[in-house]
Homo-oligomer: 336 residues x 2
């Protein structure tokens, strides 16, 4: 099967390849007759333009890369789905690049990524959106990027986040208002800025309600279900047992729920459990988890929209956006 290039089309149609290119890109100044003729040859020869050649000439690939390292599958799919929505709207495609590395190795990895596929831009999700090294590197290399759910301030770069501190405050307050005062907390992964934010919202709610913060009620997790299970053991063994647990994400909360159920504790009668993120699991288990809905898709979608705008050469005006998180109450929390 011989290749059909713009040259074959041009020869066959009896026009110059520039004219073919004009038809291809819907440029003006082509007579209707010529346009028709060329379009007919497209069909006849079953011509597909070569995106690589086009990319070389235009210096564009129309591909956006998405960088992530997140233990939560549902977070990743939500990120992808938001990014894809924006990409497809503007006829871009999405290349995914999960990556577990830190420091030097991370930079080398990204360098290799940029060497093997030319990306028009990069979306950084946690924890990469907080990596100063990476951001410096990208700036140096003149790569367009947008940051999702990052807490670090940097007016230069595009960043869309949600208000985690406020969300954590609200859900803690929800527990307090139900009558809980002995509320355990499970922290997230230390590399994620959300971890600190959520912890801080928890503390602020305690002090806003004149409860003293007790660090023996705090367990260290890393957002994974597994780490939640470990933390759950520690927390359920505390004497007296906390009447409520606020886990920094739903996976860890689900792990607490599973262990509590196994130990014949009734949720929420014996212990209330709250999560964060509104992951699918929060409504797939029984009792459903009270949690904070973060607009993950929306954040990513907006970030990619802005990124594409910037790639297009626009001077993006509003680079920093904060979206609201929302409390979702389900069956896993009640009066003590």
């Amino acid at each position: 099967m011989k290749k059909v290039t713009i040259n074959s089309v041009a020869t066959y149609a009896g026009v110059s390849k520039k004219t073919v290119s004009r038809v291809l890109n819907n440029e003006p100044n082509v007579s209707p007759a010529t346009r028709e003729k060329v379009l007919k040859v497209f069909k006849e020869l079953d011509y597909t333009p070569n995106p690589i050649a086009r990319g070389l000439a235009r210096n564009r690939s129309f591909i956006i890369g998405c960088l992530y390292d997140n233990p939560s599958k549902s977070y990743i799919t939500r990120v992808q789905s938001g990014a894809l929505e924006a990409c497809h709207k503007h006829n871009y495609n999405l290349l995914i690049h999960p990556c577990e590395l830190r420091g030097e190795a991370l930079i080398a990895n990204i360098e290799n990524l940029l060497m093997t596929s030319r990306l028009d831009g990069l979306v950084l999700t946690p924890p990469f959106s907080d990596s100063i090294e990476l951001i410096e590197f990208l700036k140096k290399k003149n790569v367009n990027y947008a940051r999702v759910a990052s807490a670090i301030e940097d007016d230069e770069s595009i960043s869309v986040r949600s208000n985690d501190e406020q969300g954590a405050f609200e859900i803690t307050e929800h527990l307090i208002e139900l009558g809980h005062s002995h509320i355990a907390f499970i922290k997230g992964h230390p590399d994620h800025s959300a971890t600190e934010q959520r912890f801080s919202g928890y503390q602020r709610a305690l002090s806003a309600h004149n409860l003293t913060f007790d660090d023996t009620l705090v367990a260290e997790g890393n957002f994974s279900y597994h780490s939640g299970a470990d933390s759950a053991k520690a927390i359920l063994d505390i004497n007296p047992r906390p009447s409520a647990v606020f886990a920094s994400n739903d996976y860890m909360a689900a792990a607490v729920l599973k262990l509590a159920t196994q130990r014949q504790l009734k949720v929420p009668e014996d212990i209330s459990i709250a999560g964060f993120d509104n992951a699918p699991i929060a409504r797939h288990i029984w009792p459903g988890l009270t949690t904070i809905a973060q607009p993950v898709e929306e954040m990513t979608r907006q970030a990619v929209e802005l990124l594409i705008e910037q790639i297009g050469g626009a001077q993006v005006q509003v680079r920093q956006t904060t979206l609201e998180a929302k409390l979702i109450t389900r069956e896993s929390t009640s009066k003590p």
Copy 2:
């Protein structure tokens, strides 16, 4: 910031660009001195080769596309993870393309995908791995592709599947051997070949154990949690209530579990529940779901490995592979 091209490097190092290209690709026949010199200039100028230009010259993009439309997030992430493993091993990248379309629109969509980014190959996951139209189209366009978890026979194309029929047989047999004879079944999405396979395994097990098949025990689902919830309602209302439910995937099984728990039924004492896929949710809920572990990552990994081999120009010998599915027993099934 001026662009650093192979030409600037060549000029700066005082060699021809072909020699620079040789160094870049680790080709032989470059004197150590020259190589050193060029490498030093790479550093000094902070040169990054342009993958697009390279792609044009070599007629390769080193990007594989992954096509899917699957309601299960965990299935998607498993597919991605297997594909990525193979890609990164061979220095390829992965572009994801979810796509809800069928028929004509699907073809147009894929055509557009191929027009906007040149992909070296395509991995098809269900239900696309079963789409005759799509396969015909790709053959016509001379696009390399590999099919994952497809049931249709086609010796020409690369295909890696797992034995769903056998898995369904085994899990049904497991229920029968526990003493169940009144076993409900929830079907999957009709577009997926797995749906028919699993149903057929269920039926074969019944007849192998001399149980008569009763179609009032069969509910129509579509693999989504939501459809599982609907089917669960129908099944739990059957009189007399089935003593066991085999749902075609774990999401639907989890929905049955949730409804049963809400109705104060004890699982597995009052009703046994089995799923399929060994999705994360199967072990994240309590009781954990008895299910069939499908080697999704492994299937996809192998499919992509073969695909890359084919792209490399090799005549791939063994194009068709079937992997084994494995029964995983957890707490959701027991004697009636």
